[in-house]
Symmetry: none
DNA sequence: CATGAATGAGCCTTCATTCAT
DNA sequence: TATGAATGAAGGCTCATTCAT
């Protein structure tokens, strides 16, 4: 006889899962998936390693669900939404703001996990599908902004899609590095990165 | 009585070692050190896993000697030397040439290995020493070139050392990514990267 | 929420360790350290080889802790203590009693392990320290007994220390042999050994 | 077309085998059979490890033939023969002389190999047969000597066979120990051992 | 639900043995 | 005959996963 209502129980269970998934994303981001041991996730979450298997079928499942959850959670999505609607910023300012966010926000853990996966072999296809088009989302998001920037003369001419892809690729490459290095002089550094695509 | 002359045997032995080290650097670059299994190196080199241990003491030793060999081999060193003495190129052209080389040359496998190591914990100190100042070499190499570029008005003002560090950091971040992505449109992409630090 | 109280778990854990250490000492004694495989210890203890590593860091650690435990356990120590205080026995009777004990007591497994180690190369120093002065203890213990025996004319004249050392050396050599051979006619055999040092 | 006569070749081959067998017995004695590596024998013999397999089928065969050769060679046999015929020595003096020889002669390497084998499991039966009755030979040899000693009142009464067995067992146990320990004060030590069975 | 004891597949490493030269 | 390069079976150790409590 359950003490709590099904819903309540479900909630508690869900909270535990989130606790584990948070820990998992963090540890996966820092160490890569293969090198992350279940015990590391458990320790980060403050639970025993056995408990992980009450909430997830396997390590692969932890990865799948954590990634799914983190992507859907979409801190970055929210950020992009707000950015899109913020008419007080010029296209280049939007790009600048995003870049700063990407390099400093803790939410970039998800990206680092994805990067590890992209550099790995044998990633199960159902996991691969989770992030295979994440990049597309960003590209789609930035194309109109870049286009506008080109129209108002803030951004250099050329194939917009290629420009976006390249810019995001650079950001992405940087994020894989030591994430703390970018905390100093972030403004200046981001400005430099912006120079790649800005006119003046 | 051996059929081979000492010299011949020595040659075979040396060639085998090189064959293994080449394979090792490649596999280490692709998978990272921890995830590289001796059997993967052996397979890549086309030999049995046991043979690796005729030429090296341990996996750690394979890493150490391979790295030492690849660094000393110095394709990049040679490239830098020639670049330095090439008076037909302006500072920005030199940087452009180097960037292209860094992103396309097969020799960047070594850098990818080093990047994996820098993101790893528990790297033995004697291995760490092998690459701890490799970065410095590049910085020292580029500072005078950047300085000259600043004097002739090709490169933006600002703290030269910081500029160099940032630029190399971006290149380095990119190299960790899929190394093939950069093969298309390399000229255009490198030009874009150069824009970060060039005046116009 | 764990079903076991902390104490209960701790007890189980301790019992398992002891179970493994008992098995280890037995197998080490029979086969020597180098030739003892973890799987042999595991089989003797009735567990899987993996479990050994839940309780010990390595094979070396199994050896170290088992030896430390067995030495500290000190069945022999206890025996010596009681022997020392037993005033009903003459010096020669004490020696006789000890000899019988040494050759028949199951506790001589520890000695056999130590003997294997003494005949081995490359024993880690922290392990070596565990038994390096065990011999001294016996010598120190028997010197006064032998001295008394000499005074009362039970034991032959001569350098007491050398006499003790020689006698113990013989006992020790015998213990390395098939320990069951000595079970038959033990009284007679021990009497014969005693003759080495007794007067009549 | 052979350069040498068959006989000559055979001789050379035989000498090589002996060179290897000498090395094998030495290394087997020091390290035990299982812990002796083919490379250790080769090094001791001053040849390459591959060459061992030109003269012997396997490590087991090296052991078998070496043991067979060493036992048949019979330095000890010769010694015993001479001892038997030496009428200038009393029974106890003969035993004393033998004991000294056993503990100091380099020929005791064979015994140490045999002792290692007796403490081992899984010794092939054809090898076991080589030494299974070596002990018997000694017992048979000493029984008449002990008997004579008892008759002339040099040696204590009792079951002669048991007495011999025990005495040899003690000698054998001692030989397994550090063989150098017995080099100092050998006379005194042997005298002490003799006391086990002598009347006075 | 929660813990950690228990298992076994898999990787690093050693070494007996084979074989090209 | 002689060498040492080459192979692969087996043992030490790790860690994902299961399960008794």
């Amino acid at each position: 006889m359950p003490r709590f209502s099904e819903t309540k129980l479900e909630t508690i269970r869900e909270e535990r899962k989130i606790q584990i998934m948070k820990a998992a994303i963090k540890v996966f981001a820092e160490n890569g998936v293969k090198l992350t041991k279940i015990s590391m996730i458990a320790k980060e979450a403050g639970i025993s390693h056995g408990l992980v298997y009450h909430y997830f079928q396997s390590k692969e499942d932890v990865l799948y669900e954590s990634l799914e959850w983190a992507v859907a959670l979409g801190e970055t999505q929210d950020f992009l939404e707000k950015l899109k609607d913020d008419n007080s910023l010029s296209p280049v300012e939007k790009i600048h703001t995003f870049t700063k966010f990407a390099l400093t926000s803790g939410s970039n853990q998800v990206f680092r996990v994805i990067q590890h996966l992209e550099n790995s072999k044998g990633v199960p296809s159902h996991i691969h599908e989770l992030y295979t088009n994440v990049g597309e989302v960003y590209i789609e998001f930035f194309i109109p902004i870049f286009k506008e920037g080109q129209q108002v003369g803030e951004i250099i001419e050329g194939n917009t899609e290629e420009l976006v892809e390249l810019f995001l690729s650079v950001i992405s490459g940087i994020m894989a590095d030591d994430p703390n290095w970018w905390n100093d002089n972030i403004e200046q550094k981001v400005t430099l990165l912006s120079r790649m695509i800005t006119l003046r």
